[in-house]
Amino acid sequence: MNNYVELHCHSNFSILDGASHSEDLVARASEIGIPALALTDHDGLYGIIPFYKACLAAGLKPVIGVEMTLKNGSHITLLAKNNRGYSNLCRLITRAHLEHRKGSPAIDKKGLAQYSGDLICLSGCRKGEITTLIASARTEKAHEAARGYIDIFGQEDFYIELQNNLYPEDKRICHALVKLAKDFDLGCVATNNVHYATTESHRLHDVLTCIRNRTTLDKCDTLRLNSEFHLKSSKEMTELFQEYPKAISNTITIAEKCTANLDFSQYRFPDFPLPEGDTAASYLAKLCWQKIHKKYANMNPEIEAKVNYELNLIEKLGLSGYFLVVWDIMDYAERNGIPAHGRGSAANSIVAYILGITKVDPIKNKLFLGRFLNEEMSSVPDIDIDVSTAHRERLIQYVYEKYEREHAAMVCTYVTFQARNAIREVGKALGMPPELIDRMAKSVSVYDAKGIEQDLAGLNDFKSYFSSAPWQQFISLCREIADFPRHLSIHNGGMIISSRTLSEIVPLEKATMPGRIVCQWDKDDIADSGLIKVDLLGLRMLSLIREACQLAEENHKTKLDLDRLPLDDREVYDMICKGDTIGVFQVESRAQLQTLPQTKPHSIEDLTIEVALVRPGPLQGHMVHPYIRRRKHLEKVTYLHPKLKPILEETLGIILFQEQVIQVATAIADFTPGEADSLRRAMTRKKPTKAMDEMRQRFIEGAKRNGVDNDRASRIFQALEGFAEYGFCKSHAAGFALLCYQSAWLKRYYPVEFYCALLNNQPMGFYSPEVIVRDAKRHGIEVLPADINKSNDRCTIEGGKIRLGFRYIKELGEKAMSQIMAERQSVPYLSFDDFYFRARLARKPMENLILAGAFDSFGCQRRQLLWRLGPLEKNSPRELPLEFGDTSVSLPDFTDLDEMKADYEVQGLSTKYHPMHALTKDISRDGLLKSSEIARLPSNARVRIAGYVITRQRPPTAKGFAFMTLEDEEGMLNVIIKPDVYCRYRQIFKLEPLILVQGTIQRQNDILNIVADRLIRPCDEWQKQISST
């Protein structure tokens, strides 16, 4: 008989203290016949949404609770009786977090009393105040504490919690607690303080404890004594508490009392402040008609009809207020010169375009509204905004101010355990040798921690460990810890805004960033709970474009408005077609550089396709090569049905955009836009669903009514299915294509400003700053090293050249940079000593400035300056700068190799040397070709080339093939590594910065690749050369 419910249970959202996913706890509870389950994670409701969903799916009653930490360090267990109780839980947790240091939430009894309504309180685990006092035989104090809790929660809702985890003293403590309960006429309740679903997971719990305490299993003194903290059955618990049967039956009574659910249907998006007499719908319409002429100078009935239809639809769906809120944010951005635009499916909306939320004209780009809005939609569509990373904070602060902090918060994200951090953290807890951990973490090529074993099995380096028991233990723990939350972080831009006080809906807490508040749910939880968020996503390309324009305007005394740029500049497209696109938005990847010379985009529509085409999805869906062949007229453009021609014509018969799925379903099988959008969503789910089978049937029947036979309808449906999982939204691609064109235009016409802004907005895109510096050089732009009198914090333009900014020099913080710049404002630095005494920086930044060559303009040798630092440090600021003979020595200057190494060490790049410089010093160039020489050789020629690896990839879509881009002093080359060659040289491929490649030239479609048959470490080659001489 099931007469027990577990009311004290931690999931892995009790971060580093829970060793099971909530879904696994629910599955186990179901398996052992527990009818309901509470989730009581530490000081948070982080995992409540997946837990709640899993309970409902398993037919279990979810009980929502928390284990709160009190100010005195003790714990209590709180359970929500109803939705009012749930709101109080949220308020309590929020208060505990916001009133204390980040990571140390706590609530005092006053706070507890304030929000105790509709909560049931259990007295807590061994760390509970009453239990601690009883355990130390301070009965009077325990009575006093009990009276305090009764005052707060009332006798009815305060229970004495009994736990027997088979610890010494548990029995005695339970006995004393029962006596106390009798004295106060309180109910007792048994719980097992669950920290994992099954007993086996106690190992993982121990490992998590070590990770939390930054120690190893051997050294950890806070591990639990045994493995009894798992979910126990009714039978096991009844046996453990056979003396106290009421403590068992009370679990059922309490669970029955708890009826809180996560229904937020009463939740509303905040009301937008409206002018008197207006409704949200009427005000939105008014704004649209006011602004329409800015976008459409020549109005026509088609445009008017579209706007009217969409405004009606928005009103019908109750989204007018939502549009106004987003418009208001964008309006603020525009008024304050913050580069921002709507992204994603929102660009399908003409209302969004007219209001300035999006920049892409949906009529000109033939975009399709049904992907964004349709009459049957059950959820609110997201409007995501890309905003210049440099300006994003201002926009966030505006939202906070407008809606007040109680109504707005950032969405959180969880950093989870994946292959690399699992190897590092589990390995450290197990006490494995650090060098072995490092080698494994660097060698592993899978992302998922569950795949570590299989992945490393392919490497000889680790073969000798495989059969050993510790290795098996390690692998098994890594597998178990996969996807566990590691810590909470802020989502890139998700903001939740609510008309109700947010802390009644979801607990809030401090983020690491000062002054920033995050809610305890991530974007999926927010979506699952039906709340609405606005994404303000930082996009560095917007910052780059803004900065490059400003620089160009300053340097060339011109005024640029990229939004009004004609989109047909031949020279811009010619540059793109050559694959000269490093730094250009969305088309700079290795795969794009290979594709662009083949597809040759020559219009913004072509760029829209290019952006959507070269992605893992279309590659996996086998759409890329057919498209390229059709684009090059090597294959005939065909359609599975004539009705598909108008829909797929622009993509040459290939399904490429999500919008096309909806349009095809509508045209072939008479799906309504809502049905077709549901079909698109169903197709994106990885597992086949019953809903999907039904849709297939309806599609085929609908097609039949339109005269399309079964076979053809099935083939069309199959084509949709094959694509939909990975498809791209056309409106999104169109928005990105615009940025792609603008950035390409800047690169073509204002390259100095473009590269300068590119260096100032790192990290972004595909390439590291060192590659960008060399690409700039190849375009004839000189990049000068940092100089103590000439550099600013950011990179600057100096007579048509780029001067590296101080930001690139490590250990030179904001304060030191401002100090350097402020001090030289009136008089420049005259010498090294003068700089030392005036700027007074710490040793490390001084050393790094020397190593980066920032004092080269004084004509001093770097090694001499490092020596000079010593005597200078002995002088106090007011001392006379007297020279002592014994301090001057003569030291050899840096060799060019020393200089290059120092450059890389302190700033990650060299403005003077290519990394190949190191290789050519050691290795004879006999037989080695340069990239420029290879470009002149025919297909199938055998070659040897050495280069610096700037990209290495092994995409899951490439059937085991790997690719790398090698760069030497003269250019870049693409290297293809076949699966068997990759297996042989995987460690060299993954770990070596400079590689010698032996292989064959492959020329295909104007693209030159080297197909490698051997990868060689430079040191091996060097040794070979030494031994042969």
Binding site: K171, L217, L225, E228, G427, L430, S468, A469
Partner: protein, 109 residues
């Protein structure tokens, strides 16, 4: 006061169906268990149950280090009982859950 046996003494114990002690032999005489005062479980150092430890992994592949795989054997999995015998002796004994053997750990005066 109590006497703790650092090297626990092997015991011959008669158990009930749930492996709880009913009686045991001590100093040649049979001691009947009158009451189990406390019962607890200790499960520790599971990582030492393997024939070698994670720290030894580094040398797993090294030639000449086969002995590493036999370095140590450890791990604790015990069920402890504090009992009062019919004759009034109070003692702590445990059953090793890995070997099912019984040991006497402590005797109270």
């Amino acid at each position: 006061m109590s006497k703790l046996f650092h090297e626990a003494i092997t015991l011959e114990v008669k158990e009930d169906i749930q492996h709880r002690p009913i009686a045991f032999l001590y100093k040649g005489g049979k001691e009947g268990v009158e009451e189990i005062c406390e019962q607890w479980r200790v499960s520790q150092e599971w990582w030492k149950r393997a024939t070698n430890t994670p720290q030894d992994l580094q040398s797993c592949g090294d030639p000449g280090s086969p002995a590493k795989s036999e370095i140590r054997q450890g791990g604790i999995d015990r069920e402890y009982f504090r009992v009062r015998t019919v004759r009034g002796i109070v003692c702590e004994m445990y059953r090793d859950l890995l070997t099912s053997a019984w040991y006497l750990q402590r005797i109270y005066d």
